[in-house]
């Protein structure tokens, strides 16, 4: 019998995976996917947004498998996404058609249609609610019954939930912000062609919207804290459901009435107002309001706001400022890419390190030879 390879790697992996399974199950309790999708809305929304895949069920499954680790859950969904062919592109979605659940403006108190606070933690006190330790299905049902019963009084408010005019349209009519014409260029698809520079706006927005929530937020924070921009103001933030249609795949018909409704997606949309100086003739300067745009899957308000700030920042494009440098921002905010490369450092680097060691020894040897 000859020599055989030591099968250390194979067995170690198998045992490690068993151990991982044990860590997930050791308490003897199984968390249901449905419990995650109904009770962890914030995490589900974040994971769907960073994964660029809209499915509450699959996001919940990924969260379960990842034991609640968002970086791992996003990774699972992105990998799954790679197995899906791109069969259709939807028709253009108009956010004015959003079924609004919440919309606020920090710019105007009195906006057409009014402010709708909706569901928000903004004005909640962050006091740990110890009652939740004891929460039961029965107590939840009782609360729901009471709440929905009370709401009858407020049917009017419920019925009003729906379409609202856009705040920025009002400013446009006033001529206070530059009228941006509809750009009907076919958007690029960053999941089908790789990013080249200078990037198109559609590419930038896609990379931003699938960016890691923390990374997008941190970079936008840097923008407003000291790297490039004055204080922006939220023109409008809205959260709600958008209907998605696709053209009939059977005919060449692009008639709107023939389109198929394929469902709704919940999104957060932000239109951010940013004061900007515009140069007029003879060096005369004028102040104008520019705007940045943010849109992400789910209720991800901080991320959508951050995205709108980075959108504007990237449009300025002064490469000496990191947050305006598109390569700096767009190459480094993807969750799967950044966590993947950082974590790859755990892999063996025996060969590469040996090569470096060889160089280090050589330079040392040469310097001692020289001195000696």
């Amino acid at each position: 019998m000859g020599y055989v390879a030591v099968k250390g790697g194979t067995r170690a992996i198998e045992e490690s995976l068993k151990r991982l399974q044990f860590e997930r199950l050791q308490s003897g309790k199984v968390i249901e996917v449905e419990a995650i999708s109904s009770g962890m809305r914030g995490l589900v929304d974040q994971v769907m947004s960073e994964s660029s895949l809209y499915s509450e069920e699959l996001a919940a499954l990924a969260i379960k498998q990842a034991e609640g680790n968002p970086e791992e859950a996003v990774f699972l969904l992105r990998a799954y996404r790679s197995t899906l062919p791109r069969k259709h592109y939807s028709r253009t979605v108009h956010s004015a058609e959003m079924r609004v659940e919440r919309r606020i403006s920090a710019s105007f108190k009195d906006i057409p249609g009014g402010q709708v606070l909706g569901a928000s933690t903004d004005y909640s006190h962050r006091l740990l609610d110890f009652d939740l330790l004891e929460e039961t299905t029965a107590s939840a049902t009782a609360w729901l019954e009471q709440y929905l019963g009370m709401e009858e009084l407020d049917q009017e408010a419920f019925a009003q939930e729906g379409r609202f005019p856009k705040v920025l349209d009002y400013l446009r009519k006033e001529g206070l912000i530059a009228d941006c014409s509809v750009d009907s260029t076919e958007p690029d698809d960053v999941t089908r062609t790789s990013l080249t520079f200078p990037a198109t706006r559609s590419e930038k927005l896609q990379i931003l919207t699938r960016g890691q929530t923390g990374a997008v937020t941190s970079l936008a924070y840097a923008v407003i804290r000291g790297y490039g921009m004055v204080h922006p103001t939220v023109g409008e933030l809205r959260v709600g459901e958008l209907p998605v249609y696709i053209d009939s795949p059977l005919t060449q018909n692009t008639d709107e009435d023939e389109a198929y409704y394929i469902g709704e997606i919940k999104v957060t949309e932000v239109e951010m107002l940013v004061p900007a100086t515009v140069e007029k003739e003879n060096g005369r300067k004028e102040l104008e309001l520019d705007f940045g745009y943010g849109l992400c899957y789910g209720q991800n308000e901080t991320k959508a706001i951050a995205m709108s700030i980075l959108d504007k920042s990237l449009e300025k494009g002064d490469k000496s400022i990191p947050t305006q440098n598109e390569e700096f921002v767009l190459f480094h905010i993807d969750s799967v890419e950044s966590t993947g490369f950082i974590s790859h450092l755990k892999m063996p680097h025996y060969v590469t390190f040996q090569a470096k060691l060889n160089d280090v020894r050589k330079t040392r040897k040469q310097s001692t030879e020289k001195e000696g």
């Binding site: 390879a5 992996i13 790679s82 960053v190 974590s343 060969v351 040469q366």
Partner: protein, 281 residues
Amino acid sequence: MRIQYNFAFLDEGSKREIRRATLKAIAIPGYQVPFASRELPIGRGWGTGGLQLTLSLIGKSDVLKVIDQGSDESVNAVSIKKLIDKTTGVPATDATEAATLIQSRHRIPEVPLRTGQLLVLQVPMPEPLRMYEPSELETKRLHGEKDYSGAWLMLFEQIMKYRSVSTGADHPVMVNDRYVMAPSPIPKFDNPKMNYSEALILLGAGREKKIYAVPPYTQVVSLAFEDVPFEPESFPGHSCRQCGAEDVFMDELYDSEKEETYYQCNDTSYCLQRMNAQPLV
């Protein structure tokens, strides 16, 4: 909700797209072809570029070999093999000669590759000029204009500072007298194996979304100066403790019992093969 995965994981449209980029890469040796890299079930930065090449090219009649830093049994090699096996059922081998498709991280096997074999190398940083130019737009322009003064200057500065080049692994090469290319972090020892290689060499960077290639019988020259010639790693006076090989790339190991350093072939399957060919003592 039961999900069946496609043969070789990726959908056929994606595979075709990757193959198109690969064909372009072969047509322009050393040129980095951008492609829309897909996320895979293994870590981004853990060989997804190489794996996408492998998955888009593998067929049922292939024989696969996967090595990671010289070892067929390293955890990452095993993990990649397991995924390919799970989604294709293609048999794997350790024997370099028996393989038709070899995916490797940072080594070219010691057994010379031959015509008809395909070597896929995993690439972390495909841009050889990135060390001194962070901007992608800029490096693309430099390649376009064949402006490699920065690459030469980088080597020159290393010599001035350290009296020899200190590129470690991934020493830049000139391909077909046109493009400066990162050979992936293979040791300098392996660079000459690329020159006029009989096998097709494909390089894939998943995170950086680039594919490039060294077609068979293509000139690949490691960058060096006339008076400071290219010098691969060497292990003078050392031989493999297991098989006695001398002119191979070796791992440096430490025997804690004897309290001494010893050397061993880094290419584990090559070492094993030699040991098995030797008469038993």
